[in-house]
């Protein structure tokens, strides 16, 4: 067994530098690597490019790194619900590349699968397609135009899992899975924080979502807040 465990978040993020490209897992505030984001704020690394489906809210998630102006560029599919984000984007302080959500997910996946490009119909005929190659393919009995999109490359992928073992194997909980396993596969260095770190052998190999080969560093996370963005309930 190769041991992937690092002592803490400081050690896990020790070599992240100004100007790095980071993939950050999560959907909204669900399944985000809370410990790593807090540590990035503390470290103060700047000019980051972040690939993440969303940009958090003003006072949580990646919103924290926007408040401190540590992010130079965001690559996301949906960035509503964040006033500071909107202000920085409209004033031109923040560079933003909006990517269809399925394209974003699949560009991460392609990277982990070793495929440099994907072809997708999403965005054909829209401003997303500007400057990109398109090709016609007949698939599923239908001829359609597809857009060529490149696999994402990132210096670091930062993900959050529910359980992980010392070999770096990860299991996610419920919809906190979302982009995490895709980004975990795609980082040049992948860092995983987990709610529960267990010895190798304790997780059923059949239940692993992300095999440890993709995870370079794993650590036991602390004090998860797990904030809910839209608490919706019904009466009993």
């Amino acid at each position: 067994m190769i041991n992937r465990v690092v002592k803490n978040v400081e050690e896990a993020l020790k070599d992240i530098k100004d100007g790095n490209t980071l993939m950050v897992g999560g959907f909204g505030l669900c399944g985000i690597p809370e410990n790593c984001i807090a540590e990035l704020v503390k470290k103060g690394v700047k000019n980051l490019t972040c690939i993440s489906n969303n940009a958090g809210v003003d006072d949580f998630g990646l919103g924290l790194l926007l408040q401190t102006k540590q992010i130079k560029k965001m690559i996301s599919s949906y960035v509503g619900e964040n006033d500071e984000f909107e202000r920085q984007m409209l004033s031109g302080e923040l560079e933003v590349e909006l990517v269809p959500q399925g394209t974003l997910a699949t560009r991460c996946m392609a990277s982990g699968y070793g495929m440099p490009v994907i072809f997708t119909p999403a965005g054909v005929g829209t401003e997303v397609a500007i400057g990109k190659e398109t090709r016609k393919f007949t698939f599923n009995g239908e001829e359609k135009e597809y857009l060529m999109e490149k696999a994402f490359e990132a210096d670091f992928a930062i993900v959050k899992a529910w359980k992980g073992d010392t070999a770096g194997n990860l299991i996610y909980n419920s919809t906190a899975r979302n982009f995490n396993p895709l980004m975990a596969m795609a980082g040049r260095i992948t860092i995983a924080e987990v709610e529960e770190l267990v010895p190798a052998g304790e997780l059923d190999p059949d239940h692993i979502h992300t095999p440890g080969i993709y995870v370079h560093r794993i650590f036991q996370g602390q004090k998860y807040e797990k904030r809910i963005e839209q608490r919706t309930v019904r009466k009993k």
Binding site: S77, Q101, A105, T106, S174, T175, F179
Partner: protein, 218 residues
């Protein structure tokens, strides 16, 4: 004139037994409330769920279980969870049978715009571009006329597009329409109490009216 719930109720009649359905944010979400008893459908949420259930009871919310609108939800029996790539995989490969989503504008050739107002609102397209590019069956739920009284049924969309030639059917406060393969909003049904004349005035693009158009039953 139909209100939001009326539009949702009419769209619910398009949902057939055995369908896998993706509901967008806004009016489309309300459709789930009107699916008739005995019609078994599975709701897909693009953040990675098949078999989405209702909101949880107070005190039973789970931060790890949300829908694509980031609302806390529950799962029904037989549900499954998967990552975002697989979620759009089943959308792209057309395993998901029906997509219902909102729009800011629709054009007479079936183009749709719903993600950006340049200089004003830039929240992003989320999964909308993937959904409209792939779904075989797309129903749009929208207001046909904006607050300023202008039609959003246009010869050509003015806002940045989400997808081209993809909308099949539209349900608005005034009626039900099919996008004709030759171009044009073909009026299928009128909302209760709405005349063809009123619909003409609310349609800037090409309107197709053939014979007597029935009033919708909801």
């Amino acid at each position: 004139m139909l209100d939001k719930n009326g539009i949702a109720k009419r769209i619910a009649k398009e949902v057939k037994d055995g369908m896998f359905v993706n509901l967008g944010i806004g009016i489309p979400t309300l459709v789930a409330n009107y699916i008739p008893e005995g019609v078994n459908v599975v709701l897909q949420s693009e953040n990675g769920i098949l078999g989405m259930g209702p909101f949880p009871f107070e005190g039973e919310e789970d931060a790890d279980l949300i829908n694509a609108g980031k609302q806390t939800i529950t799962l029904l029996k037989g549900s499954s969870i998967f990552d975002s790539a697989m979620s759009f995989g089943m959308i792209r490969s057309q395993k998901v049978n029906l997509t219902i989503l909102g729009a800011m504008e629709v054009s007479e050739n079936g183009d749709i715009a719903n993600w950006k107002i340049p200089g004003k609102m830039v929240k992003g397209m989320g999964g909308a571009m993937d959904l409209v590019a792939s779904a075989k069956n797309i129903i749009v739920a929208m207001q046909q006329v904006n607050k300023a009284g202008q039609s959003k049924f246009l010869p050509k969309c003015e806002l940045p597009l989400t997808g081209v030639r993809c909308v099949k059917k539209v349900v608005t406060e005034l009626g039900v329409y099919e996008i004709s393969p030759q171009g044009g909003f073909k009026l299928l049904e009128r909302a209760p109490g709405i005349s063809v004349e009123q619909i003409k005035n609310a349609t800037a693009g090409k309107l197709i009216v053939e014979g007597d158009v029935p009033e919708m039953q909801i």
